[in-house]
Amino acid sequence: MANAVPDLWPESVDVDVISPLVILRHQATALRKRTKNLLEADIHTSTLEPHPASDPFDDDARVQHELRIVVPALDRYSYSLLRVWHRSSLPYPVTIVGWGTAASEDEFMDLLSKALASPDTMSIIHSLIAQTNERIDESR
């Protein structure tokens, strides 16, 4: 009998890989908790068909997830904060529009945390919270 064939898979094969969509959903839930329900967030997912004029070698549709902030007190005004896309057949690599591309779950979380903590994002968040508090104050 021949020697047993070794397991050739690398150590990095992981059963706990989380998709970008799941990570984004967690951020949506976290935002609601952090802002004490002043702000909500939801994820809109759509499919973007490949456009030959953009990339003639790209025939795989893309999945886009849009993280939107929703403001209940402002008649559910919504703000599209981030767009994330990846090929429909592969969750990684994943691109955060305007921020770059991440090859793995860890890289994505690192890039996403930079995007969420950016001065622009904070400015939007605080502006919407301020407008909400103003509206709540007016209604009293």
Partner: protein
């Protein structure tokens, strides 16, 4: 209700805007490439003229919506980080509609395929607002940086904007098993010199073999549910006092903007 859209190319054209608004009795102005923030734009227009203008926004965006009418309340309902699309809800006594305003990137920086992909995303965002508000009384206006015949404007994956009222009257079209709502794009009718007025809203001369010279980047799209009240659209070449075009009939960049304004009316 009378609307004016104008890409003012970062110029202080407040006097010209005031004359335009007075001459055409404009109720609502949408600006692209304003040199100042929306609050300041409204203030400057108010100070220079006789009407009181108000801005409507929650966050800074690429287009600004200003109004001087008390007939309607105007509420921002959607914005996005890149600011290329904003949606407002306009509420009148007996009806309401959605006003989507847009300013897409120039083709100096974005390729046609990229604009088409962005049109896909934007039309989905418009559709999402229509679902949330339960109707399709929607107008989209702005500087699309695409001509009416561009794939992003025409494709069912993009704005799906068709060239005649009759075609748009069918309301939607099934493509590969999916039903896509349509817009009417009246801007097709302005091409060439067989109709009064300028042959486009933007003039660009190139030395390449294929050059169109005139473009209609500044467009208004109307959903079928508003066709019965959509009464007029013009590409404007004067402000009632001063011409906005030069001796060749091209947008006069020296006195105004490299884009001509767009005027349209909804009989609401």
């Amino acid at each position: 209700m009378t609307f004016l859209f104008w890409n003012i190319a970062k110029r202080d054209l407040w006097s010209t805007l005031d004359r335009l608004c007075n001459f055409h009795n404009v109720d609502l102005v949408v600006l692209a490439e304003s040199p100042s923030g929306a609050t300041s734009s409204a203030k400057q227009l108010t100070q220079i003229g006789t009407r009181s203008w108000h801005s409507h926004f929650r966050v800074p965006t690429r287009t600004q919506v200003l109004s001087c009418t008390s007939r309607a309340t105007i509420e921002p309902v959607y914005d996005e980080r890149a600011g290329m699309l904003s949606i407002h809800r306009v509420v009148l006594e007996n009806t309401d509609f959605l006003l989507a305003t847009t300013h897409l990137p120039s083709q100096r920086y974005w390729e046609e395929g990229e604009l088409a992909q962005e049109s896909n995303r934007m039309s989905s965002a418009v559709r999402q607002s229509e679902i949330e508000y339960g109707h399709e009384r929607t107008v989209v206006v702005g500087d699309f940086n695409m001509d009416p015949y561009a794939p992003g404007m025409v494709s069912s994956h993009g704005f799906h904007a068709l060239m005649t009222r009759q075609l748009a009257g069918k309301r939607s079209r099934i493509v590969a098993g999916t039903d896509y709502s349509v817009f009417y794009n009246p801007m097709w009718g302005f091409f060439g010199d067989r109709t009064p007025g300028p042959a486009g809203s933007y003039f660009y001369r190139r030395s390449t073999p294929t050059t169109y010279f005139w473009h209609i980047f500044d467009q208004v799209l109307i959903r079928p549910d508003l066709l019965s009240v959509f009464s007029e659209v013009q590409i404007i070449d004067h402000d009632g006092t001063q011409s906005l075009i030069d001796e060749h009939g091209y947008p006069d960049n020296a006195v105004a903007s490299d884009h001509l304004p767009l005027l349209f009316r909804l009989d609401l």
